[in-house]
Amino acid sequence: MRSLAGLAALALVLVAGCAKPARDDLYVLMPGQEGKTGALSVESGGREAVLDQPYAAARVKEPGRVEAGVVTPQEAQQAFGPALAAQPDRPSSFVLYFLEARDELTPESKLVVGSILTEIAKRPAPEIVVIGHTDRVGSVPYNDALSLRRAERMRDELVKAGVAADRISVAGRGEREPLVPTADEVAEPRNRRVEINVR
C-alpha cells in the first residue's frame, strides 16, 4: 500500500512536470511616445485579451491560455532590453512654406533647411521623402506641376547641400491635400508647402 501511494505521488509529480508551461510568451503594450497609448488584442486558441493601458501585459503559457496582467517598466526593460535598444530613430517630419505661385521658400522656412540637414546627417542609411502641395489658386494640372516643381526644388537644395540624390524620393500632390481646407481659387499660404519626411 505504501509503495502504491508512493507511486501515485510520483505519478502526480510526473504529470505536474509534463504540465510545466511549454511556452513563456509575453505581450506588453507600451505607452505611446506622443502621449497616446494605443491598444493591442492578443488572441490565442479562441481566447482574447485586449491590452489598452500602459504596461498592460498578456502571458500565454500554452495556446488558449491567455493571462492578462501588468509588468513594471523595469520588467519590460529587462525582458526586451536589446530589442528596445535596436529601435531605429523615429521618423521626423518638417513642413516648409512657399511664396505664392513660386518654388521659392518663405524667409522663415529657409531657416528650417539647416535643421533638416542636421537630421539627415545623424541618421544611418537615411531616406528622405519630399512631397509638394499647393493652395487652390489655378487649375488642377497647373497645381500638380507646381507642387512637383516645389518638391523637386527642395530635392535639388538637399542634393546641393550634399545629400545623395538616390536617397530622396519626390512627389507632387497638387491641391488635393490642403492643410487648411478652402474653396477653389482661394489663396492660402499654409497650403503652399512641402513636407519633408526623414527616416
Binding site: L26, M30, Q87, R90
Partner: protein, 148 residues
Amino acid sequence: MYPRILPLTVLVLSLPALVAAQEAGHIKVSRGAVQIERAGQKAVATVGAAIQAGDLVTTGADGSVGITFLDNSLLSAGPNSVLAIDRFAFDSTTHQGSFESSLKRGTLAVVSGKLAKQSPDAMKVKTPAAVLGVRGTEFLVRTGDPKN
C-alpha cells in the same frame, strides 16, 4: 506599327519597376550576427539593406536588428530571434494596405506606422501561439520555448 509595339515596350519596361515595388523597408540598426534569408539565400544584414515581403530576418546570440518600413512602422528584434515579413503593401497616397509579420522565436519591439493608423485591421503580428491585432502605437512581443 508604332501603336502596336508601344504596349509591349511599356510592359517590358515596367517589369523592373514591379520588382522594385516589393521593397518594404530598410535595415537601420544591425548589431552582432544578423542575417536576411531570401528565397533560400542568406546574406549578412548590413545597415541600409532593403527588406522585402517574404524575407526572414534572424539574429544570433549577440545579435539585434532594427528595421524602418515604408509606412514608418519600426520593428526591432533582440538576440536569438526569427522574424518573418509575411506581407507588406502600402499605398503612400491613401495609406492603405496591409502588413503581416511573424515572430517565430525571440523578442520584438514594434512601433506601428501609417498603415495601422489608417485602418485598425491593416497590421498583424503573429507568433506560434497567438495573433496580435494592432490598434496603434507601441508594444513588445516575446515568444518561444522558455529554455531558449
